[in-house]
C-alpha cells in the first residue's frame, strides 16, 4: 500500500512540476519570505544604531557604544547618506555647543527616543553605575512585525498546500481519470493519503525554507512542524472538497482563498483585540495555529503548550473531517 501511496504522490509531484500555476504556488512563499526580509529588519537587528562624526567627540562615541551600535563617518553628508538607507539608524550631529538628531523619518519612535535619551545622559554625565532601575523584559526578543509576517506566511503556506490538492483533483476530473483509479487495487484511503502527501509535505518543506530565509533558525523545529502539520490537515480537507466542487482552477482558487478570511480574523484578534474578546475567535483553528506558531517563533513555547494548541487545531479539523469526509468520498467515487 505504501508503494502505491508513494506512486500517487510522485505522479502529483511530476504533474505539478509541469503546471505553471502550481509552480507559482511553490515559488510564491519563497518570494514572500524574501519580501518579509526586505520589509522588516533582520532578526538580530534589535539594537539602536547611531551615526556620529569621526573624531568630533571620541569620548561621546565611546559613551554611546555602551548603549547602542555606533558607526563613525567622516562628514555630515556621509551620515546623511547612511541614515537614508533602509535600516533604522539615526545620526547625532553637533550644532554649536549642542547636538541634533538626524533621522530618515520612518524609524520607530522608540529608536528616536533612545537616541535622545542616550544623548541627554551623556550631556548630564550620567553613567551606567548611576542607574537604580530594575531590568524588565517584555519578551520582545525578535522584531514583532517580522514575527507576525513570518507566522502569517507559514499559515498561508498550509492553505496553499490545500490549493495544490485542489488543482490535482481538478486535473483528475478534467482528464476523467478518477474512474480509472477506481478500477485499480488502490483503496479510497490509499488514494486520499497519496493525494494528501503533496499538501502535507509542501507546507513542511516551505516552512523550513521560510525559516532559513527570514532568519528564525534557532526556533524549536519539532514544535513548529507539529503546528504546520495539524493546520495543514484542515487545508487538505478544504483542498479536496474545493477540488470536487469546482471544475476549473480559477474558481477553485477563489474558493480556497476564502480561507484567508478566518485566518485574517484570527490574526487581527490576537494582535489587536483585548483578551476578553478573544473567546469569540476560539472556533477558528488558525487562531490556535497562530498562537502556537507565535510562541515557537518567540522561542518561548513549551511542549505542553504546543500539544494543547495542536490538539485543539486537530480536534476542530476532525469536526470538519466528519462533516466533509462523506462528501469527499462520494465526490471521488
Amino acid at each position: 500500500m505504501l508503494k502505491k501511496i508513494w506512486a500517487i504522490f510522485l505522479r502529483d509531484l511530476k504533474v505539478g512540476s509541469r503546471d505553471s500555476l502550481t509552480l507559482i504556488i511553490i515559488i510564491m512563499p519563497i518570494l514572500l519570505g524574501i519580501g518579509v526580509n526586505l520589509l522588516t529588519p533582520s532578526i538580530n537587528d534589535t539594537t539602536v544604531n547611531l551615526a556620529l562624526l569621526e573624531g568630533e567627540n571620541p569620548a561621546q562615541a565611546e559613551y554611546f557604544a555602551d548603549f547602542a551600535k555606533v558607526e563613525l563617518f567622516p562628514n555630515e553628508e556621509a551620515i546623511e547618506t547612511r541614515v537614508k538607507k533602509r535600516d533604522h539608524i539615526v545620526g547625532i550631529l553637533p550644532d554649536g555647543d549642542r547636538y541634533y538628531i538626524m533621522s530618515q523619518g520612518n524609524e520607530p519612535e522608540s529608536v528616536i527616543e533612545m537616541a535622545k535619551l542616550v544623548n541627554m545622559y551623556y550631556a548630564e554625565g550620567i553613567n551606567l553605575e548611576d542607574a537604580t532601575a530594575k531590568l524588565f523584559e517584555f519578551g520582545e526578543t525578535v522584531p514583532p512585525l517580522k514575527k507576525m509576517l513570518t507566522n502569517t506566511l507559514i499559515i498561508m503556506i498550509s492553505i496553499l498546500g490545500g490549493m495544490l490538492i485542489t488543482f490535482n483533483i481538478i486535473e483528475e476530473k478534467t482528464d476523467h481519470t478518477i474512474s480509472a483509479m477506481n478500477v485499480t487495487t488502490v483503496s479510497k484511503n490509499a488514494y486520499l493519503l497519496g493525494k494528501s502527501l503533496v499538501g502535507m509535505l509542501y507546507p513542511v518543506f516551505s516552512t523550513i525554507v521560510i525559516l532559513l530565509i527570514t532568519g528564525f533558525r534557532d526556533v524549536n523545529l519539532g514544535q513548529l512542524i507539529l503546528m504546520v502539520i495539524v493546520s495543514s490537515f484542515l487545508s487538505l480537507l478544504i483542498g479536496f472538497i474545493q477540488g470536487i466542487n469546482n471544475d476549473d482552477v480559477m474558481s477553485a482558487a477563489a474558493s480556497v482563498k476564502m480561507l484567508f478570511l478566518p485566518v485574517g480574523a484570527a490574526i487581527a484578534a490576537i494582535e489587536l483585540l483585548n483578551q476578553k474578546w478573544q473567546i469569540l475567535f476560539y472556533w477558528i483553528p488558525f487562531y490556535w495555529t497562530y498562537k502556537g506558531n507565535d510562541a515557537v517563533l518567540l522561542n518561548s513555547a513549551t511542549w505542553p503548550q504546543i500539544l494543547l494548541y495542536s490538539g485543539i487545531v486537530l480536534a476542530l479539523g476532525l469536526i470538519v473531517y466528519l462533516y466533509l469526509s462523506p462528501k469527499i468520498r462520494k465526490g471521488l467515487a
Partner: protein, 284 residues
C-alpha cells in the same frame, strides 16, 4: 467468470430502476456482448460489475469475488477500457502506463510493448494532452491490459477510431481472447458485436430481452431467402427464392443453369435488424 442474479439498480433509490432483474452468466473464455441503445442500462450494469457503482440489490460475482463486499484485490484480475478516454494529459504515454502498472500487485506488461501493440510506438515520450482523440482512446485501451487481466471490460472499444485501427483493435481482442481472457463488451455497434461475440445480450429500458449467440439469432430471426438478378431474353429480371422450400430451390437451380446471373444476395438478417425485431427499438 461473471454470475449475475436478480440485479436491480435505481439511481433515485425508488422503484424507478435503471436495471431490472438482470440475470446472466458468462463462462471463462467467452466474449460476451452487452448490446443496447443509449440509456438502456449497459453502463449501469458494467459499473456495478466493476465496482464503480454500489450494488443495491441482487447477487453479483465477478472473477470469483462477491461484489457486495468488494475487495481491491479483485482489480488485479480485471481490466477496464472506458468509452471516454481517461489518461493523464500532462504525462507522456509511457509515464501514464508506468504509473498505472505501479497500482497493481501482480506481473504487469511492459508499457513499450503495449504502446507498440496499439500502434503508438514512437509516441512513448509525447504527452497524452497532445494526442488526437483516437490516440488517447488507444492509450486508454492499452492501459486496460497493463495488469494482464483475466476479465476484460471493454466499453465501446472501437468508437472514434478509423477503420484500419478499429480492425487492429478487434484483432487484439480476438488474440487476447484466444489466450483465455474473458471479454465483457459493451457496445451499440452491432457489427463489432457480430464479428467478435460468442454470445450477446439485448438490453432495453434496464431489462435483458434476450441472450444468445449471433449465429443462433440469425437463424432464428433471419429470413432464409435469396435475391437474384438475372438476364432473361435481353432484360434484367429480379426474383426472390426461398432456400427452404423444395420447389423454389429447384427453380433457383434452373435459373442458375439457364440464365446469366447478374447478382445474388442472401437475405440473412443483421444483428441490428434482429435487435429491432426483438425489442421494437432502434439502437441510437
Amino acid at each position: 467468470m461473471i454470475k449475475v442474479e436478480g440485479l436491480y439498480h435505481s439511481y433515485s433509490n425508488d422503484e424507478n430502476y435503471a436495471v431490472k432483474n438482470a440475470n446472466f452468466e458468462i463462462p471463462k473464455g467467452e466474449i460476451f456482448g452487452f448490446l443496447g441503445p443509449s440509456g438502456a442500462g449497459k453502463s449501469t450494469t458494467q459499473g456495478i460489475l466493476t465496482g464503480l457503482l454500489q450494488l443495491q440489490k441482487g447477487n453479483v460475482n465477478v472473477a470469483g469475488y462477491d461484489v457486495k463486499n468488494i475487495s481491491q484485490k479483485m482489480f488485479n484480475k480485471i481490466g477496464m477500457s472506458f468509452e471516454q478516454s481517461n489518461v493523464y494529459s500532462k504525462l507522456t504515454a509511457k509515464e501514464n502506463l508506468d504509473f498505472y502498472r505501479k497500482l497493481f500487485d501482480g506481473q504487469t506488461r511492459e508499457p513499450a510493448d503495449l504502446l507498440k501493440l496499439v500502434g503508438l510506438d514512437g509516441k512513448e515520450n509525447v504527452r497524452a494532452g497532445e494526442f488526437s482523440k483516437g490516440m488517447k482512446h488507444r492509450l486508454t485501451f492499452a492501459r486496460s491490459m497493463i495488469n494482464n487481466p483475466e476479465l476484460w471490460f471493454l466499453d465501446e472499444p472501437t468508437t472514434g477510431l478509423d477503420p484500419a485501427i478499429a480492425s487492429e483493435i478487434k484483432d487484439i481482442i480476438r488474440k487476447e481472447n484466444n489466450n483465455g481472457v474473458t471479454v465483457f463488451l459493451t457496445t451499440h455497434n452491432m457489427f463489432i458485436a457480430d464479428e467478435l461475440c460468442n454470445r450477446v445480450a439485448f438490453i432495453v429500458d434496464g431489462e435483458i430481452k434476450l441472450i444468445d449467440s449471433p449465429k443462433n439469432l440469425k437463424l432464428q430471426y433471419g429470413e432464409q431467402l435469396v435475391d437474384v438478378e438475372f438476364r432473361k431474353n435481353g432484360t434484367v429480371v429480379k426474383e426472390t427464392f426461398s432456400t427452404i422450400k423444395e420447389e423454389e430451390k429447384q427453380r433457383l437451380q434452373k435459373v442458375i443453369l439457364d440464365y446469366e446471373i447478374q447478382s445474388m444476395h442472401t437475405k440473412e438478417a443483421t444483428l441490428e435488424e434482429i435487435f429491432i425485431k426483438v425489442t421494437g427499438r432502434g439502437l441510437v
